[in-house]
Amino acid sequence: MSEKRKELKVSAIENGTVIDHIPSNAVFQVIRILKLEKFENMILFGTNLESKKYGSKGVIKVKNKYFKPEEVNRIALVAPSASMIEIKDFEVINKTVVEVPDEISGIVKCFNPNCISNHERVKNKFQVVDKNNLRLKCYYCEKITAKNNMTFF
């Protein structure tokens, strides 16, 4: 692969954040969760990229933006293996792995159709009762939403 073609595929940023190792099918969800659609800085993203570790991955690069840990941890539900790399003057200055937070709000719908959060304008909240298997206990109806019945807003 020539240098030029490589440049197109993984364009470097001078300052900002690289979110790496996103599952290929979750890139657009990550964009939505981090509210990047409304962002005005330059954003580069790629998906279905080759990855030695995962076979295929997605990457998002956001110019001149650094995220707070609680912001980036919001993507843990869709991209639990993602890492966040902070770049300054083309150098990596910090690298952290996404962590599942103790509480999750406004990302996932409660799976219980009879839950008040699906009927009234309520900002839903969950306590993460099992971080490994992603089991979320609704603060309102107290039912458990498991990974296999999660739907995202």
Binding site: N112, N114, C115, I116, S117, H119, E120, R121, V122, C138, Y139, Y140, C141, E142, K143, I144
Partner: protein, 303 residues
């Protein structure tokens, strides 16, 4: 406990629960006290539940309080599409405390978040019904003279019954040994069983209600098996007659055994048991009034 909403039984610590039971005892001795005469209580029943509503309204009336509210949502602004948020904010203007029953799970928690006055959950769908749990604890304590170290059997639908779930969780504070009697299809969910395991308490599971269970327990908590839970009506017919308690089954039971039931019953306790001194379900319902009197007066800061 002043101004503290009661939504879920776990909102009150063990000490707070015992405080409620203690004050309830006082009300049992002296049920008519005019301490709520300056208060207005809102009783909002978005779905009908005559039993619970009458118990609350009796508790309020015996304390001299006034009641505003409705007993079903069909002829209120809710029918016109008013949000729960607006109903609660409106009613809070007219009352010092809200008692609410609503078919949506989590509705009481939501109401307590937005309401400037405290909320008592009188049942939110299949989720919680904490005043039932407190009256059950009160009934157990009263009949056994203690709450600690008892053998308690739960019989019937242990999978869907919220009454059973909440009482099992509450009893985990008292070193209870659990005897769980149910058809395989209606076993206690693992999320509830987790509470028993976390405290390292003993529990035994049975599919039959017989002398393997009855002679060993202090409390026999019977529940109704609902037809809606079965996809196969024949299966329901088979199972519903499986757990009918009859008087002769009590032959080898302990002297102190008491039979409880959250009511209404269908056929799971034969009426020939009603005359037994061990039948306690009607008295149990009456205890609900004392417990609710205690809650109202504690939350309003009058006790």
């Amino acid at each position: 406990m002043k101004n503290k909403s009661l939504i879920s039984i776990n909102d009150y610590s063990k000490e707070e629960q015992l405080e409620v039971l203690k004050v309830a005892e006082e009300f049992e001795k002296n049920p008519v006290q005019n301490i709520l005469s300056n208060n207005v209580i809102a009783s909002l029943f978005f779905e009908p539940s005559t039993r619970t509503r009458l118990s609350f309204e009796s508790a309020i009336s015996r304390l001299g309080g006034k009641i505003v509210g409705f007993s079903e949502a069909s002829n209120t602004s809710v029918k016109k599409g008013e949000s729960l948020r607006d109903s609660i904010l409106t009613v809070a203007n007219y009352s010092d405390l809200i008692v609410m029953r609503n078919p949506l799970e989590g509705s009481a928690r939501f109401a307590s978040e937005i309401s400037p006055v405290p909320v008592i959950n009188a049942g939110d769908g299949s989720n919680q019904h904490p005043t039932q749990t407190l009256l059950d604890l009160y009934s157990i304590k009263k009949t056994q003279n203690k709450l600690d170290n008892l053998n308690v059997a739960f019989v019937g639908d242990l999978k869907y019954g919220r009454t059973v779930h909440s009482l099992v969780i509450a009893l985990c504070n008292y070193n209870t040994t659990f005897h769980l009697v149910s058809p395989v299809e209606l076993k206690l969910p693992s999320s509830v069983k987790m509470n028993i395991k976390e405290k390292n308490l003993k529990y035994y599971q049975y599919t039959e209600l017989d002398d393997n269970v009855i002679p060993n327990v202090d409390v026999l908590y019977m529940t109704r098996i609902q037809k809606e839970r079965f996809s196969d009506p024949l299966e329901y017919e088979r199972i519903k007659n499986y757990y009918i308690l009859k008087n002769d089954m009590l032959e080898n039971s302990k002297e102190n055994l008491r039979i409880m039931h959250p009511l209404p019953r269908v056929n799971e306790i034969d009426i020939n048991v009603d005359k037994s001194p061990k039948a306690y379900y009607f008295q149990q319902a009456l205890n609900g009034v004392y417990v609710r009197q205690a809650l109202l007066s504690l939350i309003l800061g009058l006790k």
